[in-house]
Amino acid sequence: MPEAISIRVNGAPLSVSPGTTVLAAILSSGISMVRRSVSAEPRGPLCAMGICFECRATVNHERHIRTCQLLCAPEMDVRTDD
């Protein structure tokens, strides 16, 4: 049984299976809005393959990370827009 990975999304702990992308983790925690657009509209992913940049979130304090291309790693700190 592969070991689950623990991350934090907006401060809340979340447990995911290895191979889960940060984006999938965010969405599976019930969040649909990953970011706010430049005119503050709620947005979620569109292409899910690294092209549209709608899935950007702050990961381990680095902004503008495309979460669809990043696998969850232990203790990752993920922050979405509010």
Partner: protein
């Protein structure tokens, strides 16, 4: 000095960009011919879109299994989560992997950068849970639970069927599949599938998986509704308009090739695709292209072209002759796909004046209509100036307004400043060493 650490380049006979079916086939063929081969891919794992999530331990098709086994059997270096940033000079590319810069030197380059979905703007398309068809599938493969969720699949292309089948297998409730192409075109397409035993078998398998799901032709989504996220989709078919409550809308209008890197490297683009000769070599000597870059033809075409490119790049052009018959029928299929899933005129009128066209910069349709060119619109409205570098709104505005795209400038994908700066560090070093 930007970085104390100055990485020396990895150096290869054949460098393959993209680890989808085309890239995997190309790498195998080149390695088999004795070349030192590396493959670079932006995703965390190889497979591209079609084989996303396929592994040797859990392959869903015999074809994927067989190719992944071959891939593992050859001595090929694979660099995942790695994106090309820029060309340093001919034979040397700058890449970045999770922000760290890396260089790749090569004698021959094979571009297999695949395709992305074409998105057309319509009211509500920016709501959370409206995604591409391939997009939702990619998400589910990356760990998104979809069981029990209602999904409307819409847009155009054979991808819609594959996506619907896959989502259903994972427990989604597919409300319907809305294909914009008219019935007559699809009927001809279905008939053409009879020409290939494998395609026919695949089609029957998909049909079985989709039994009970309405497949409506000449049908498209005209609006997505919801407050903070999607709640329903309004569809149109002829004069009939109705609303489908749903959790997700998986909507994509067939595919456009990812030609940006090829363009940056100077490869001639014709009709939106990279022009190649019978050995898959582009107009730039030593740069080969295979797969969707040369025409949207699906996995079969990708594998054939990948093999041709791999052998040719490794100096074994004679071995490409064995593919000529398959190549011809793949080219024919590519042509059939193009004609079958061409976008109809009515889709140009989906957007209303308030509909956002450029999602990065929130530029509405009404602001764009009056401009004669992509560049004029870009300068005045910022459309296309966001982080996606026009990859989403570019093809849409080409369809809506007939605008031609501009030349590509680095970075190929948004990259940390210090990574972008590495290109010059190496260039300066070369100059000094000369």
């Amino acid at each position: 000095m930007i970085n104390a650490r100055k990485p020396s380049p990895h150096s290869y006979d054949v460098l393959v960009i993209g680890a989808g079916p085309a890239g995997i086939a190309a790498a195998c063929s080149a390695a088999e011919s004795g070349a030192l081969v590396a493959v670079i891919d932006s995703n965390p794992r190889p497979g591209g879109q079609i084989w996303r999530g396929e592994t040797r331990e859990h392959a869903h098709t015999r074809e994927a299994q067989s190719w992944l086994d071959k891939f593992a059997a050859q001595r090929i270096e694979v660099f995942t989560s790695t994106e090309i940033v820029d060309k340093i000079h001919p034979g040397l590319l700058l890449a970045q992997s999770n922000g760290a810069a890396r260089e790749f030197a090569y004698k021959r380059l094979i571009l297999c950068t695949g395709a992305r979905e074409l998105f057309l703007p319509f009211p509500g398309w920016t709501l959370p849970n409206v995604m591409g068809a391939g997009g939702l599938q990619a998400l589910v493969k990356s760990g998104l639970p979809i069981a029990g969720k209602k999904v409307v699949v819409a847009g155009s292309g054979p991808l819609l069927l594959a996506v619907a089948a896959h989502l259903r297998e994972h427990g989604a409730e597919i409300c319907l599949i809305a294909e914009q192409s008219p019935f007559q075109r699809l009927a001809s397409f279905a008939i053409s599938l009879l020409l290939s035993k494998t395609k026919f078998t695949q089609a029957l398998a998909i049909r079985r998986k989709l039994s009970g799901i309405p497949y409506k032709t000449s049908c498209w989504a005209i609006r997505a509704e919801g407050r903070d996220k999607l709640e329903s989709v309004t569809l149109r078919r002829g004069s009939k308009i109705w609303k489908e409550p749903c959790d997700y809308l998986a909507c994509g209008f067939h595919l456009v090739p990812n030609i940006e890197l090829a363009s940056l490297l100077g490869c001639e683009i014709r009709g939106g695709f990279v022009r190649v000769n019978q050995f898959q070599e582009s107009s730039v000597q030593g740069i080969f292209c295979a797969g969707e870059l040369t025409g949207i033809g699906g996995v079969d075409s990708a594998i054939i072209e990948g093999q041709i490119a791999g052998y040719a790049a490794a100096g074994e052009s004679a071995r490409t002759a064995q593919f000529s018959r398959e190549k011809r029928s793949a080219a024919h299929f590519t042509d059939v796909l193009r004609r079958t899933f061409a976008l109809r005129e009515e889709l140009r009128s989906l957007a209303t004046p308030e509909t956002i066209v450029c999602r990065c910069e929130d530029v509405q349709f009404s602001r764009l209509q009056s401009y004669p060119s992509w560049r004029a619109a870009k300068l005045q409205t910022r459309c296309g100036m966001g982080p996606c570098q026009g990859r989403i709104c570019g093809p849409a505005t080409q369809f809506l307004f007939g605008w031609k795209p501009e030349s590509v400038r680095p970075p190929v994908f948004a990259a940390p400043l210090e990574s972008l700066a590495q290109a010059g560090a190496r260039a300066s070093e070369q100059a000094v060493n000369q």
